[in-house]
């Protein structure tokens, strides 16, 4: 549906993004993953026509956004990182304004706003001034704005940043629902978020695309290690000695005292060996009670590590 070809954006001598190419297929939820400052926002700003690329082009079903901005922009809804809200308007006024600038027929506007408000669950704040809303509601009003005009494609830049955990879950489930009848691009620096919502992932690092694939394939065999985070009550040295003595523990790192009288550690082992039972027994014998034990999550850093080491091998 969207073809992004060789996008480059220069700022002085520095490249914000360099030769970025990927496609977004109709109907998919695509995750756009990268660390802060990797070039996600720049790419999205170019795809939505907010800024122009130094080189390269963006085609939506063959229409170039620079040559036919009106055609392309009508089909894309964009929620930038900071929702583009007018604080002095009420939600209703704001969405009516959005309808007017997005070519929604005046007769159809009211019903359309009703639908969108119901979808993003902001019916109860429609008469309130936007500046008085909580951050979660502001985000949803921003999302409502992106949905106005029924664009086929919705681009969301870090939509969950700064929200509390419950709001994050709500927004994620909303995005999943949107994905049923829209093409969605979701940018994020949080791996679990993308893993939860997206089918396919494009990873950008230092302005360049480093991978694009399904998340399953990207994370399979991330490192060949298995990591456990553990919290043990007792003296740091004692615990460390007990852990180091454990067979199969390749690497032990102290994370410091996070609870009084207890210390956190990361223990890395070969993926093939499950050391949880021997670990329990060893610490029990040493009289060091385990307060918490959980497998550490795969992080974006791990994937980068894998990707870069793959590249070195190749």
């Amino acid at each position: 549906m969207i073809e992004i070809q060789g996008l480059t954006k220069r700022y002085g001598n520095k490249h914000a993004i360099k030769d970025v190419s990927f496609t977004i297929k109709k109907g998919e939820i695509l995750g756009f993953l990268g660390r802060n400052g990797a070039g996600k926002t720049t790419t999205m700003n170019i795809v939505t026509g907010y800024i122009s690329a130094s080189e390269g082009r963006v085609l939506l079903d063959g229409h170039d956004i620079l040559e036919e901005p009106r055609v392309v922009k009508r089909r894309i809804g964009y929620l930038p990182e900071q929702p583009p809200l007018y604080m002095d308007m009420t939600v209703d006024e704001y969405l009516r304004f959005a309808c007017a600038i997005k070519d929604v027929r005046p007769g159809a506007a009211k019903a359309h706003i009703d639908d969108v408000c119901e979808l993003v669950k902001i019916q109860d704040v429609r008469k309130r001034l936007i500046k008085n809303l909580s951050k979660g509601y502001k985000q949803r009003v921003g999302l409502a704005q992106a949905l106005i005009g029924n664009p086929e494609m919705i681009i969301l830049d870090e939509p969950t940043v700064g929200l509390d955990p419950r709001q994050i879950l709500e927004i994620r489930s909303l995005i999943k629902r949107l994905g049923q009848d829209h093409t969605v691009v979701l940018s994020s620096h949080i791996l679990t978020e993308v893993a939860d919502v997206c089918e396919r992932v494009v990873i950008i690092n230092n302005g360049k695309i480093v991978a694009q694939d399904t998340l399953g394939r990207l994370t399979s065999g991330v490192g060949d290690t298995f990591r456990i985070t553990i919290r043990v009550a007792g003296q740091e040295n004692e615990i460390k000695r007990a852990l180091r003595a454990l067979e199969g523990a390749r690497y032990v790192e102290s994370l410091g005292a996070k609870e009084e009288g207890a210390h956190d550690f990361v223990v890395e082992t070969d993926r093939s060996a499950d050391i949880r039972k021997p670990l329990f027994n060893a610490l029990a014998r040493a009289g060091l009670p385990i307060l918490m034990l959980r497998p550490a999550d795969i992080t974006l850093e791990d994937i980068f590590l894998k990707l870069t080491s793959d590249n070195e091998e190749a």
């Binding site: 930038p80 007018y86 308007m89």
Partner: protein
């Protein structure tokens, strides 16, 4: 364009800016009217407007300072610039909203004309011509402010720079006749808004004067569009 115009117009009166502009204009013009017309018994409407001519220099920037700078700062411009609206209609909508507030405020001064009318004779030709000229001259100051607002992210600097430029234009007027070189004074005369306004206040409602003011506005709005468009391409 209508949507942008409507939103901006509403915003002028949801925030204090519209009231501050209209209030100050009517306050200062009221004081001048009281001294120059009421107390000295003058029924000259053209002279009255002449005495107001300094006010837009300082007040038009209040009207225009936030037009683009605030949106750029809040990032709400991202919604406008990624919508199907053309840049031209965004700029035109915003300019026209400021112009509408200006028109409404100016309409308030018709009260003075009514007061004069109740005590003396009104020369309608002169009044219409002066008002058209005065309105268009204010439009030029608004167009300058629009351009400056699009060039900065800070409302206060937008206002200060606009006042500076407006003031410079006003100074040109007094410099014209003391510049020794003829071609410089001719050139300056060409740029002086007050020089162009002068015939209007002498009931000469001329096509060339109107055309000059309208072109002045169009040029500045065109530059505004270029400034915004250029920023999208910027690599700085």
């Amino acid at each position: 364009m209508a949507a942008v115009w409507k939103r901006e117009l509403a915003s002028y009166f949801l925030t204090p800016i519209g009231y501050v502009f209209a209030g100050f204009f009517l306050l200062v013009s009221g004081i001048l009217f009281t001294f120059n017309n009421l107390m000295s018994g003058s029924g000259d409407v053209a002279m009255m407007l002449n005495s107001f001519s300094m006010i837009p220099i300082f007040l038009a920037p209040i009207l225009t300072m936030r037009l683009f700078s605030e949106e750029r700062k809040n990032k709400s411009e991202q919604m406008l610039l990624t919508s199907p609206l053309s840049l031209t209609s965004i700029v035109a909508g915003k300019f026209l909203s400021a112009l509408t507030v200006w028109l409404a405020t100016l309409a308030g001064t018709l009260l003075y004309v009514l007061i004069i009318g109740s005590y003396g004779r009104l020369f309608w030709g002169e009044i219409i011509s002066s008002y058209v000229g005065f309105f268009l001259m204010g439009g030029c100051f608004i167009a300058i402010g629009t351009l400056i607002s699009a060039s900065t992210e800070n409302q206060v600097s937008a206002a200060v720079i606009s006042i500076g430029i407006n003031f410079f234009i006003w100074v040109i007027d007094s410099v014209i006749y003391v510049v020794p070189a003829e071609f410089i004074s001719t050139a300056l005369k060409w740029f002086s808004l007050y020089e162009r306004y002068d015939p209007f206040s002498r009931s000469q409602l001329g096509f060339s004067g109107i055309l000059y003011f309208l072109s002045f506005i169009v040029v500045f709005l065109f530059l505004t569009i270029r400034v915004i468009d250029k920023r999208r391409w910027s690599e700085g």
